[in-house]
Amino acid sequence: MSTAEAAPPPGIAARLFSSGAHQKLLAFASLIALLIGFTLASPNFMQMSNIIAILQATSVNGVLAIGVTLVIITGGIDLSVGTLMTFCSVIAGVVLTYWGLPLPVGIVAAIAAGTLCGLASGTFVAKMKIPPFIATLGMMLMLKGLSLVISGTRPIYFNDTPGFTDISRGSIVETIIPGLPIPNGVLILFIVAIATSYILGRTILGRYTFALGSNEEAVRLSGVNTDAWKMAIYALAGGICGIAGLLIASRLNSAQPALGLGYELEAIAAVVIGGTSLAGGRGTIMGTLIGALIMSVLTNGLRILSVEQEWQTVVTGAIIILAVYADMLRKRRTS
């Protein structure tokens, strides 16, 4: 209306202090504080080799968390990402070791398997209207079982596929910049993060991801085929789990069919610490990345300080509650 003042354009400052950015800032500040704290507490912490170890440890959980972030922004949840990751690594094992096909075929097969399983979850949720929690819980169990069935409950090793371990452990970066041994796994994490960030921020798929989480009925009434887009988002998240499956298999030089349960919760924890709202509609990949880093910095730092593993888990749990509580406090103040 001409009677009212125009809102100021959201400049850099406004963006920095918008609600999403605020939480990211909080998470980022916590990460810096942790880094400083551990550096002061132990001289071994801020070593190049240790930083690389932290990044490497973040890669699998980070990639999984990015996939889950997409689903959570739509207002859903994906509990199947952990066992889906394992399923994809088993598929890679079957294709590469059992069938002896070349490496690129195995990579494509793992990612395709992830995408298809994601599409299946998406179909349960969008078409069959099963609540995401239940649909992906069922998917989680089915995939856990299938991984064991397909592999005959035994690990599948990749000794016959030269170059498979390089997916995660090799370092293209070091061949280009000598002295900077950033492993490929970390590189892949950042590539996945940047690509997903781009999809979320700049493409139609990303737009509908936020729109679905914000007000699904309104999107539907706008004439958008909400079911199809939701399925696409779950499929993309599944494909990203396929990448995580390749990363973990490469790191272990094997597909471990019994692995995977529990990874989904770590991934969701990273998403939540990174400020993505479980109610949907809001979230960033940057936040998730920071969330995943906070978790691995904590684990690593506490280990260096010789804190027992059991206590590390307790601390991680407390951090999740603190992170969400801080977010609630901020929201209450601003509303």
Partner: protein
């Protein structure tokens, strides 16, 4: 002139309800056609069929003389039919521009978004509307009136031939309504047909060409807006002359005051509101949407904190900080949203009636006294004539009117003698309405103090012994009930704005 839209013999069933029966409606190009009727008359249902949101069970829709089937909102949009919903349907986390072009985003190859074009197009629409708003503003940060303008901009962006506006001015202030009317007149001159749903008579007189009235899912008639007196339109809506239904105000001269509120204030929602209600009295609260009536009720009930003000119950100052305090003081609140706040719909009648008084039905070992609860429930089923097969029937299987009675029973069992009813007949069919009215009157005769909030003026007039009218958080006047008070007097007070009105967006 050939009509753009002709709806003939439209029939719609919902489970257990005959929502529309043989309804016809026509729209000419360049016409503003008002659709009127009481809440639940079927206006919104008819329009949702036209907009492709509901499918019809019978009848025919012609657009430009051609029979069409409108199967989805997208198909309606493709036919040039757009609807601005009564409930805002925006995505709060997205920007204004992203909302307006949802589903039609300008894009590059590979699904990449052309955000610059998106914002440019939106700015152009705003310019044509004389609306100064940054396309990149997040919708959730805007006041409701601005969000309403975003909805209108969205509808305009489709180059609609038919625009359905469902109560578009409910959240707008006078200046904003003027702007909306300018836009409507411009659309008229571009031969867009506009269907305008509103309860505000003065607006219809100013903007509408024809008026079609619906009642109980049926077509009543179509008349010229300019030549038909308001009273005639109203009697078409309610099916009788309004004065016939007026309430008999009892003589309450020396009855004790049950509840008195003094200077209630809460942020911008409630501004210095004072009123009292006597035992045996029904005090009606009238006002437009967002006037602050529900906010007052919630504050009295302790659901929202007050910034200042006092509440006296039976002459004693009573600090109410929580709903628990209010219930202990004998105040019961019957929310407008029974399903969310009033009932555990999955539980049975007995449990619901006993819900607020469970401490009375605990045996010495801490078990619940089912026999006692059954007796109590049966007493109220008889007293309020709740139609249910038994007290173990799940509440969700009862009709709206009987659900409402269960809520009333719950508070009566709790010995509440001050009852606040927020939209007591929302979602209740007409037959059951008069039963609820009778029930409220008999409760008053038994000495209960009753506050009724209603958006339906005929209902306020039919129930209230006195009528408190609110506008923008202020109590603008208290009118006597009965035949002496007209809808126009209430509407006058309901739109009585402060002389210096802050534009909503500027604060």
């Amino acid at each position: 002139m050939k009509p753009i839209i002709a709806m003939k013999g439209i029939v719609k069933h919902f489970p257990g309800v005959h929502a529309l029966a043989d309804v016809s409606f026509g729209l000419l190009p360049g016409e503003v056609h008002a659709l009127m009727g009481e809440n639940g008359a079927g206006k919104s249902t008819l329009m949702k069929i036209l907009a492709g949101i509901y499918s019809k069970n019978g009848g025919q829709i012609l657009i430009d003389g051609q029979a069409v089937e409108i199967g989805s909102p997208r198909e309606a949009q493709d036919l040039g039919v757009n609807i601005i919903h009564q409930e805002l349907s925006l995505m709060n986390d997205l920007t204004v521009a992203q909302n307006i072009f949802i589903g039609r985003e300008p894009r590059f190859s590979f699904g990449r978004l052309d955000e610059a074009a998106l914002n440019r197009k939106t700015a152009e629409i705003f310019k044509s509307m004389n609306l100064s708003l940054d396309p990149r503003t997040i919708v959730g940060t805007l006041p409701i009136a601005k969000q309403q303008m975003v909805e209108i901009a969205k509808a305009l962006s489709f180059n609609s031939r038919v625009l359905i506006m469902d109560e578009p001015t409910a959240a707008l202030n006078n200046a904003e309504i003027e702007e909306l009317f300018i836009i409507i007149r411009r659309l008229k001159s571009e031969r867009v047909g506009i269907i305008y749903i509103s309860h505000k008579m003065d607006e219809l007189k100013r903007i509408a060409d024809r008026v079609t009235v619906m009642r109980d899912g049926q077509y009543v008639g179509t008349v010229s807006a300019a030549e038909t007196p308001v009273s005639e339109i109203i009697s078409m809506m309610v099916g009788r002359a309004l004065t016939d239904a007026a309430v008999v105000v009892p003589e309450l001269g020396d009855a004790p005051v049950a509840l008195e509120a003094r200077g209630l204030s809460r942020e911008r929602e409630i501004r210095d509101v004072s009123f009292s209600v006597k035992r045996g009295e029904i005090l009606g609260f009238a006002g437009l949407m967002g006037a602050g009536r529900t906010e007052v009720a919630r504050a009295v009930f302790g659901a929202d904190p007050l910034d200042s003000g006092e509440i006296h119950v039976h002459g004693k100052l009573c600090p109410i900080r929580s709903p628990g305090d209010a219930v202990r003081a004998g105040i019961g609140y019957l929310s407008e949203d029974r399903k969310h706040f009033g009932l555990a719909t999955g539980m049975n009648v007995r449990s619901n009636i006993a819900m607020a008084s469970l401490d009375r039905f605990i045996s010495t070992i801490g078990a619940l006294d089912e026999a006692g609860m059954r007796q109590a429930a049966q007493r109220y089923i008889d007293q309020l004539t709740i139609r249910t097969p038994s007290d173990t029937q799940e509440v969700r299987l009862l009709s709206g009117g009987n659900q409402q009675k269960v809520v009333i029973a719950k508070w009566l069992l709790r010995d509440c003698d001050i009852l606040i009813f927020d939209e007591p007949t929302r979602g209740i069919d007409v037959g059951a309405k008069s039963e609820i009215y009778k029930l409220l009157h008999s409760l008053a005769e038994q000495g209960k103090a009753i506050i009724v909030i209603s958006s339906e003026l005929p209902e306020v007039l039919r129930l209230s012994h006195r009528i408190a009218v609110m506008c923008e958080g202020r109590l603008t006047g208290i009118l006597p009930g009965g035949a002496g008070t007209s809808q126009e007097e209430i509407m006058h007070l309901a739109t009585l704005r402060e002389s210096v009105t802050q534009p909503l967006g500027a604060a």
